[in-house]
């Protein structure tokens, strides 16, 4: 019960940082923003690795492995598609590798 307060502090402060940083994101980039935050929130992979790889009963590890698979899918597809989309944003000025 004692560890509850520092954890809550971290949550509140991280939320404020998130609100501050994300408010500044260009509207243009909202779709890539959503896919990158998708990949970032798949950090729950950390929890699934412990559940899958720990010395636990089989049925627990099966649940963990499915969760690990789901998080991994989000990490891989989230970062790849974000990068793929971001590559497409060009200013159209010469010397930027744009076709125009």
């Amino acid at each position: 019960m004692m560890d509850f307060w520092p954890t809550l502090y971290v949550f509140v402060l991280a939320t404020f940082i998130g609100l501050g940083v994300i408010r500044r994101v260009f509207r243009l980039l909202h779709t890539p923003l959503m896919s990158i935050t998708n990949a970032i929130s798949a950090i729950s992979v950390v929890g699934s690795i412990i559940v899958t790889g720990g010395d636990y009963p089989l049925r627990i590890r099966i649940l963990g492995a499915i969760a690990l698979f789901a998080s991994m899918t989000n990490i891989v597809s989230g970062f790849l598609i974000t990068d793929r989309m971001l590559k497409m944003f060009k200013t159209g000025k010469p010397g930027e590798g744009s076709r125009s």
Partner: protein, 477 residues
């Protein structure tokens, strides 16, 4: 010692995630954001895996390989399918949180009931409720966006909908309190699955009354839920990295949802519980109004004479995959020295930023993509506004008609342009089922047909047209 190293790695990963989102600010630094994100995730995975308590390595390897096998194709979907893909990945994220939470509970029961404190139980139940709710809700959303047959496209409403939802919520709340107070009671392991089933049911019930036009808000809200379920998992495992990353994701979803709601002049609760799309049937009955339709030849001639053209894309452009044809049209007009800008409404399409990504895919410089607030003051100077499959976002009823369900929603002032061409698939009203006065204005001409083929025709007319100054100059030689 090992614990210290792991904590340090998590701290580095948290900082990298914050930098990643900071770099998403502008397109110039955005790709760095991806590298920072990948680095942070890799660090977190490696250092978690290296902990001594992790002993079954093959399981992890297999699950990671399976993740790559499914993840890589999911990242290659056509960009018009990005809203579905995003909804699907919210579903995966929700499922992961729900499953880990379930595992944690039964593990706690069998191995260390003393760890199931009241605080941890609340965090755990929050985690699984948000996780499973996001799972089914996002699957429903993905189904609606993909237009899967057995998922109803129109909002589904029934009598006492909100009352029965509240009642179910009350039951879930009572069960949560019971489990929190007595996590190890003999009946507890049987009660836990009931909460899971209720959460799965909630996900479905929350999404079925919501129509396609509200999807951008709903996707953003589901994004926030997925983040919050990761936060709850962080509370259960006492892991600050999970809390930080989840909070970043949650606040991102929240901000996007607020922007979407403002862009529609509606509140959260109105989007979630206000089932759109029923009132309008009455309106269509009051007298037949007439459209003027125009041929692509005629439209091409008008476009050639213009100095300033604004293209207003909407979901129709995405459905018809017309973005590359739009690019050809843009090139044809630019060649003639015409100023061409794109007016992007925040809720155009089916997710935040949907139109920008499609137009960027077609190689249109993002400097020509303008937000609603930037372009509206210039609309009276605009010679031709070309509406490509957009509907509600250019409906003047939002400004004038108090009885309209979209009254008060900020719109792109297409009706203030000197002339308007609207490309529309059929004569039926748009997704929200609302009649659009813009189409009956005496300055508007309709181009009926699939956006891709209509714009293709326009491009053909312009390419062969004699109006090209350069073509005339050539013939002098």
């Amino acid at each position: 010692m090992m614990l210290g190293v792991t904590q340090l790695a998590y701290l580095v990963a948290s900082a990298l995630f914050i930098f990643a989102l900071h770099w998403m600010n502008t397109p110039a630094t955005a790709r760095k954001a991806v590298y920072a994100g990948v680095a942070a995730t890799s660090i977190a995975v490696v250092f978690t895996w290296a902990q001594p308590m992790v002993i079954h390595h093959w399981w992890i390897v297999l699950a990671i390989i399976a993740g790559f096998i499914v993840g890589v194709p999911l990242s290659r979907v056509p960009l018009t399918a990005v809203p579905q893909r995003t909804a699907l990945s919210h579903a995966f994220g929700g499922a992961a949180a729900g499953l880990v939470g379930t595992a944690e509970y039964y593990l706690g029961l069998s191995e260390g009931p003393e760890h199931l404190t009241a605080f941890r139980m609340i965090a755990l139940i929050t985690e699984i409720v948000l996780g499973y709710l996001t799972f089914t809700g996002s699957l429903m959303a993905a189904g609606k966006l993909q237009e899967v047959k057995w998922v109803p496209q129109r909002p589904v409403t029934y009598p006492l909908q909100n009352v029965s939802n509240l009642l179910l919520f009350g039951i879930a709340l009572v069960l949560t309190v019971a489990l929190t107070l007595h996590p190890t009671a003999p009946w507890a392991p049987a009660l836990f699955p009931v909460i899971i089933v209720l959460a799965l049911l909630f996900g479905v019930l929350l999404i079925i009354p919501i129509g396609g036009a509200d999807m951008p808000t709903v996707i953003a809200i589901l994004n926030a839920y997925a983040g919050l379920s990761a936060v709850a998992m962080g509370f259960v495992l006492d892991n600050k990295l999970l809390i930080t990353a989840g909070a970043l994701d949650g606040s991102s979803g929240l901000i996007l949802a607020i922007i979407m709601c403002r862009a529609m002049n509606r509140s959260f609760s109105n989007v979630l519980f206000g089932a759109f799309g029923q009132v309008q049937q009455v309106k269509t009955a009051e007298g037949e109004k007439v459209y003027k339709s125009e041929t692509p030849e005629g439209a091409a001639q008008v476009l050639e004479q213009a100095d300033f053209v604004v293209i207003i894309p909407g979901y129709g452009m995405a459905v018809a995959q017309a973005q590359h044809k739009v690019r050809e049209l843009y090139d044809q007009l630019k060649k003639r020295g015409i100023t061409v800008k794109f007016a992007i409404h925040p809720v155009a399409g089916r997710m935040p930023g949907h139109m920008n990504v499609l137009l960027a895919e077609a190689d249109i410089p993002y400097t020509d993509l303008l937000e609603m607030d930037e372009i509206n003051p210039d609309m009276p100077q605009c010679d031709v506004a070309l509406v490509v499959g957009a509907n509600d976002v250019v409906n003047p009823a939002a400004r004038s008609d108090k009885s309209s369900p979209i009254y008060g929603m900020p719109i792109i002032d297409a009706d203030r342009a000197r002339s308007v061409f609207a490309i529309k698939r059929s004569k039926k009203p748009g997704f929200a089922g609302i009649d659009n006065e813009l189409y009956f204005s005496d300055r508007t001409w309709m181009l009926f047909g699939d956006a891709k083929s209509v714009i293709g025709e326009l491009v053909k007319q312009l390419a062969s047209g004699a109006g090209m100054p350069s073509a005339q100059a050539l013939s002098v030689h």
